[in-house]
């Protein structure tokens, strides 16, 4: 039924956080070794024929234009083809998507995909410096906060979404993160904590926002027809999608949804041959609490404007009908841009194989969804659907 030409045979990541003590090279090495180790039937790195690596803001650690060798040159694989991908917040997931195409095309049998971000080797002001990039006359001060906060303001205005609804997302994801050993934060917070936290970009408070994080994650992919060589419980890529929207804020047609998400979701659902109701778990982009609420609507979990009811009724809790961001999401686990998408895929992989320990969700239909949205004017989105169903 689904695309199912590519299988995931292993995943690995490191605990995300403010990793002042770790270099970007070390983070990649550790995630890679965890990934190799995770392959059921054992894995010889010599089988890797090509690699993709995602990193969105490499200049933050002084590696601005180094290319794909920044992955393979650090893990003993120098010599094989490697492509570096940048696609805003979907960087990691898009590296994964492109790696899938490398395998599905029949050119490669086994490939590695990695994503990492070293955000804390630079001061916070450097990250804010993104607001000075782009075109000073058109995009001045366009940072993640100033792109997403206006969406919150308009969503509140049109649909009656409140700051409490947004805070509920943070409370849920922080609660989920307590059970995730890879999460940056592992403490519950209360609704009041979110509402009382300082305003960073009205209408968003500090605890409505994901932190700045260092992290790395990897996945190994192979052609579906040879998966038995590596895996006892294979997971398949059922569908991939990618969508874009207009480049500048003044060109956008809506400030209450992300058209890029709607397009990537349409493509991925169609490829996988499923509907949102078929999902057992979703790891969606929650760089800010409002993002997760808008994702519910764009990904088809509810009708437009109904996200507030979904969060109020606990539908997206770990034990709800569609558990969303069981890993803690970007808000709690952290958002090392290039690593984020692949870490979300790792989370789905563990749940679909029922290896997620205490935070394991119930798997009924065998599908999980990964989603990112971001980039200039929130105009890039990637979505990946994984399944444990062979057909």
């Amino acid at each position: 039924m689904g695309w199912n030409k590519v299988a995931v045979i292993g995943v690995g990541m490191i605990r995300f956080g403010e990793l002042f003590e770790k270099s970007w090279e070390e983070m990649i090495e550790e995630a890679y070794l965890n990934c190799i180790k995770s392959v059921d039937k054992g894995f010889n790195p010599k089988d890797i024929q090509a690699a993709w690596v995602g990193v969105a803001r490499p200049h933050l650690h002084g590696q601005g234009a180094q290319g794909g060798v920044s992955l393979v040159g650090n893990i003993g694989l120098a010599g094989i083809p490697c492509t570096r991908v940048e696609n805003g917040c979907p960087t990691g997931s898009d590296a994964f998507r492109n790696a899938c195409f490398g395998v599905a095309s029949g050119v490669y049998e086994v490939v590695l995909v990695a994503g990492y971000e070293k955000m804390r080797d630079a001061p916070t002001s450097e990250m804010l410096g993104i607001g000075l990039e782009g075109h000073p006359l058109l995009t001045l001060s366009e940072t993640a906060m100033t792109m997403f906060a206006p969406q919150a303001a308009r969503h509140m205005f049109e649909y009656g979404t409140t700051k409490e609804h947004m805070a509920m997302v943070a409370v849920k994801n922080r609660k989920n993160g307590v059970l995730d050993p890879y999460a940056q934060f592992r403490q519950e917070i209360a609704l009041e904590d979110v509402l009382r936290s300082p305003v960073v970009c009205e209408p968003l408070n500090l605890l409505d926002c994901c932190p700045q994080t260092d992290g790395a994650a990897c996945a190994l992919l192979c052609r579906a027809d040879i998966v038995d060589k590596y895996s006892r419980k294979p997971i398949y890529v059922a569908g991939v999608g990618c969508g874009t929207d207009y480049y500048y804020a003044h060109e956008k047609t809506t400030f209450t949804s992300f058209p890029a998400t709607i397009r990537s979701a349409k493509e991925a659902y169609k490829m996988a041959g499923i509907k949102p109701q078929d999902l057992d778990i979703a790891e969606v982009h929650d760089c800010f609490t409002i993002t997760e609420l808008i994702d519910y609507e764009d990904l088809g979990f509810c009708e437009k404007g109904q996200a507030k009811e979904l969060i109020e009724k606990g539908v997206t809790e770990r034990t709800g009908r569609i558990p969303v961001n069981v890993s803690g999401g970007l808000i709690c686990k952290g958002h090392p841009l290039g690593a984020t998408g692949i870490a979300q895929i790792a989370e789905l992989y563990w749940h679909l194989r029922e290896e997620a320990g205490q935070r394991q969700v119930e798997i009924r239909k065998g599908y999980g969804l990964q989603h990112n949205v971001g980039g200039r004017s929130i105009s890039n989105s990637v979505m990946i659907i994984l399944t444990r169903n062979k057909d």
Binding site: G131, L132, P136, L137, L138, A149, C201, L204, F255
Partner: protein
């Protein structure tokens, strides 16, 4: 040929400083208040707004302006003219003369004379004259008590004139009274009593006498007299010597409300008088600066009534204001600066990209798709319609007014920008959408559907070079399109 005023426009910044606040810090006694330019303002942005107002008031098309004459003492640049920036914001023809006048607070009259001469000699038909200043003084200096900021401009022509220039006389000597040096940029004076007596007083009297002699007139024939005012009380001796009465001075004075506006000073006074003057009245305008005084005589005709109908109100600019405290004042005067790194802009202010796109952005021109009607902006980066892929366009002028579609208030801004700052996405009245930062907004008061207008401001500086672009502010007086 009767040459005179066919349009006027002014600009006064939003902020005011009470003089007593300055006295509290440095001692002395002073009443009244001064206008203070915002951090994103300078003579270019203020001059542009007054010029847009004047042009709109004249009813002339930008293409009908054949010369632009600008007088200021506070240009942000030396060795480089920024007039082209105002000209492109107004969408003036590129085949015209742009002339800077400087080095004195009467550079405005020098500009006016140059424009008048060009019209009289039939070299041009209509010209634009603007005077603008932003007086900067050292903290604690006696001049700090009276420094203000503002701009005022006129369109001169020979058709539809409502205030004719009757005559003009200048009197000049060499006297060291007030000056700035290129390094300090702060106004300094030697001995006020000396310069008042042999500078201001002497020159104003001689210029007035010269003019009246030329015209065979006397001061009693003038219903309105506008004096360049630099400090409280300095003009009393002149008033007495000329035999002027309070009634003649009342309409054109604003010193207690705005302070010394340098090159904007008497121009603003003149605009203020024109809002009230009646047919047949005469106006005497007296400049002074750096050892020169000009006396200019205007006569108002019947067209003034019609001109008043679409006048851009001086009163509105005077009325809409917000007081700042002394710390905020020092910050606005750039005497009190945050120590921070130089902003690392993705594009250098000198980058060709800003040269390519800047004029379209500042003059608010769009490329309207001839197939689907979507207005692509700016045209310099859009050769293919982003909505339908069509490649043929017509150039359209975008509207400056609209309503907030959505917004945020960013507390933490990148280096070089100050938070908290509203960032506004607005639905403009012509159906287009625009994104810009907000200025002079009450942070708790920003709301969806709130009206806003786009104005020219200095967005950010890198190494002292500013990038000029659009910001939203709450509508104050709608800038001419």
């Amino acid at each position: 040929m009767k040459v005179g005023i066919v349009g006027y426009g002014i600009y006064i910044p939003h902020f005011r400083m009470k003089r007593e606040e300055i006295s509290k810090v440095w001692g002395g006694r002073a009443k009244g208040e001064n206008s203070v330019a915002n951090l994103d303002e300078d003579v270019i942005t203020m001059g542009a707004e007054s010029a847009l107002n004047a042009l709109s008031h004249s009813g002339l098309q930008p293409s009908e302006i054949e010369g632009f004459y600008f007088g200021t003492n506070s240009s942000p640049r030396i060795n480089h003219s920024l007039l082209g920036l105002i000209a492109e914001t107004l969408d003036l023809s590129k085949d015209i003369d742009l002339v800077d006048f400087a080095s004195s607070p009467r550079a405005n009259v020098a500009a006016l004379k140059a424009c008048q001469d060009a019209i009289v000699s039939k070299r041009i038909q209509n010209g634009l004259v603007v005077g603008a200043d932003c007086l900067s003084t050292l903290p604690g200096s006696p001049l700090e008590l009276y420094g203000g900021a503002g701009a005022a401009g006129f369109v001169l022509g020979s058709k539809n004139v409502f205030a004719e220039i009757e005559g003009l006389h200048s009197y000049s000597t060499y006297i060291m009274d007030r000056w700035t040096t290129p390094k300090s940029f702060s106004l300094t004076e030697y001995e006020p009593r000396f310069t008042l007596r042999y500078g201001y007083y002497d020159h104003l009297l001689r210029a007035t006498e010269g003019l009246l002699k030329k015209l065979g007139a006397n001061v009693q024939q003038y219903q309105h007299v506008i004096l360049q005012q630099q400090e409280e009380g300095t003009f009393r001796a002149v008033i007495k010597a000329l035999g002027l009465n309070q009634g003649q001075l009342e309409t054109g004075s604003f010193f207690s409300e705005l302070g010394d506006l340098g090159n904007a000073s008497i121009f603003l006074g003149l605009a203020k008088v024109l809002e009230k003057a009646k047919e047949g009245e005469r106006i005497l305008m007296l400049s002074y600066g750096g050892g020169t005084s000009d006396a200019v005589s205007f006569k108002v005709n019947e067209s003034i009534e019609r001109a008043r109908e679409w006048a851009k109100g001086v009163e509105i600019y005077l009325r809409t204001k917000e007081y700042v405290d002394y710390f905020a004042f020092l910050k606005l005067q750039k005497s009190f600066k945050k120590e921070e790194e130089i902003p690392k802009l993705g594009l250098n202010p000198m980058s060709p990209a800003l040269w390519r796109d800047g004029s379209f952005v500042r003059s608010l021109k769009g490329a309207k798709c001839t197939q689907c009607g979507y207005v692509n902006f700016p045209p310099s980066i859009r050769r293919i319609c982003i909505r339908c892929g069509h490649t043929q366009f017509e150039t359209v002028k975008l509207c400056r007014t609209g309503k907030v579609h959505t917004y945020c208030i960013s507390v933490y801004q990148p280096v070089g920008l100050q938070g908290p700052t509203p960032i506004i996405i607005a639905d403009m009245d012509d159906g287009n959408r625009f994104r810009a930062l907000g200025t002079e907004m009450k942070l708790g008061g920003v709301r969806i559907e709130m009206p806003v207008e786009l104005v020219l401001r200095r967005l950010i500086d890198q190494n002292g070079v500013g990038i000029y672009g659009n910001l939203f502010r709450p509508p104050r007086i709608t800038m001419g399109n």
